[in-house]
């Protein structure tokens, strides 16, 4: 039996593949399980990259808005899909609007190589472009709130909460995260990756990613503690004292209610903040995490 004979924690994890700036036919012909980085894909000519990254967007989602899934042309012949793949950077940005002239992207997906040459999902925004807009992304003076993390627009946030949105949303969702994540996972498997990672922006998004099969690299215990302390009598439950519109007593019952209270800083009663959580999705495996059993969204 040859496992580890002595426990010693590895302080400097290895990269899953060595750094490589380019991608050659010879490399592609090698072992097909060898992961390809986004930086390597980005080194290809733009149209070659487009052929590869096209697999990231579900065709039926584009078709729902009359966008051709191959040419990415909109119903008016415009180009509502934008792809940015910088050959110097291991990151890809996909932005989709209902029409090229629309003010908002209804799908925004940002992927990047991480320091170990694995894949991080930096941003995923999917909303219904036809839903009412809440300007939670800009404060009263027009400065970006960065999803409410840098500053807040309290009046708009309150309106958004009353309308049933979660923190960081500007419109209601499109109920397409499962579809988009399924495509993303198939895309990453094609590149040879076995997992991808993300940092959930809000409690509500962490809960959604749990349902999509993610586990936690960091923060599983915190999510469990949050659930425990939101139970009647718990410290978070007690802190739902009506002191702000985002801390009403009944909010303990729902994912969104908890998410708004956490966005409002209620975790300070536990000596915690909403940061440092990191989640992982193993390709082809549902982890079955459920830190808020039988939750109502």
């Amino acid at each position: 039996m040859d496992v580890f004979r002595h426990l010693r924690v590895k302080r400097q994890p290895d990269k899953i593949v060595p750094d490589s700036r380019g991608l050659s036919a010879e490399q592609l012909a090698q072992d097909s399980s060898w992961p390809i980085t986004l930086r390597q894909v980005n080194s290809l000519p733009e149209n070659a990259g487009k052929r590869i990254y096209r697999a990231l967007i579900p065709p039926d989602l584009l078709a729902r808005f009359g966008i051709d899934p191959v040419t990415w042309k909109g119903p008016n012949g415009d180009q509502p899909v934008r792809l940015r793949m910088d050959p110097q950077v291991g990151a890809v940005y996909l932005l989709v609007r209902q029409a090229a002239s629309s003010s908002d992207n209804f799908l925004r997906l940002e992927l990047a190589d991480n320091v170990f040459n694995g894949i991080d999902l930096h941003l995923l925004v999917i909303h219904n472009p036809n839903g009412p807009r809440f300007d939670t992304d800009y404060d009263e003076t027009g400065r970006p709130t960065l999803f409410g993390t840098a500053r807040r627009n309290l009046a708009e946030e309150e309106r958004a909460m009353q309308a049933g949105l979660a923190p960081a949303q500007v419109r209601v969702g499109l109920r397409a995260s499962e579809l988009v994540l399924r495509h993303l996972e198939a895309f990453l498997a094609t590149l040879g990756h076995r997992a991808y990672f993300l940092e959930p922006l809000t409690y509500a998004s962490a809960w959604v990613f749990e349902r999509r099969g993610f586990a936690y690299v960091r923060g599983h215990k915190l999510m469990g503690d949050i659930h425990t302390e939101f139970q009647p009598g718990g410290r978070l439950y007690q802190a739902l004292d009506g002191s702000t519109p985002f801390r009403q007593r009944e909010q303990w019952r729902t994912v969104r209610g908890r998410a708004w209270a956490i966005h409002d800083g209620i975790l300070s009663v536990l000596g915690q903040m909403w940061n440092g959580l990191r989640m992982v999705k193993q390709v082809g495996r549902h982890a079955g995490v459920e830190t808020f059993p039988d939750a109502e969204y």
């Binding site: 039996m1 040859d2 496992v3 580890f4 004979r5 002595h6 426990l7 010693r8 924690v9 590895k10 302080r11 994890p13 290895d14 899953i16 992961p35 170990f116 694995g118 990756h193 076995r194 997992a195 586990a215 936690y216 690299v217 960091r218 923060g219 599983h220 215990k221 915190l222 999510m223 469990g224 440092g276 959580l277 990191r278 992982v280 193993q282 390709v283 982890a287 079955g288 995490v289």
Partner: protein
């Protein structure tokens, strides 16, 4: 026919009873697994998870541990996956269990228990986590 069970819990000592319950639940569905075998399986998982909790996730807000069991008439295969710091293979000797109590180093006995109770143990670190696979044969004679 193989029985599959999986549970994912936070890497904290309070999760150990849930892992034991999962082992019991899987073993109950497979006739012929005796109490001693169940005890050994639970001991090995307890020790492995305790190492992950106290060393693998040290210094960070603990993440997940995924315990998966595949049980059939011939063997029990348990895979324990975590996403904390990986362990490193090293050449240090196993603890000397014959040594006098005062001369024994602190720790290291969890691995000893695992090696004593399992027929196979494999550890690998890949992109999708650290995975310890433990195999306990139920009827070794039938495999020969």
């Amino acid at each position: 026919m193989s029985i599959r069970r999986q549970t994912t819990r936070a890497a904290e000592l309070e999760s150990l009873p849930r892992f034991r319950e999962t082992i019991d639940a899987a073993c109950q569905l497979q006739p012929g697994i005796d109490e001693q075998t169940r005890y050994d399986l639970k001991l090995a998982v307890d020790e492995a998870c305790t190492n992950i909790i106290t060393h693998g996730y040290a210094g960070m807000n603990p993440g997940s541990i995924i315990l998966a069991l595949d049980v059939d008439a011939l063997r029990v295969v348990m895979t324990i996956t975590d996403f904390g710091h990986a362990f490193e293979p090293a050449e240090a000797p196993m603890p000397d269990v014959q040594a006098a109590l005062d001369d024994r180093p602190m720790g290291g006995f969890g691995l000893f228990f695992i090696y004593q109770t399992m027929d196979e143990a494999r550890y690998e670190t890949t992109e999708d986590g650290n995975c310890l696979t433990l195999v306990r044969r139920l009827h070794p004679a039938k495999e020969e």
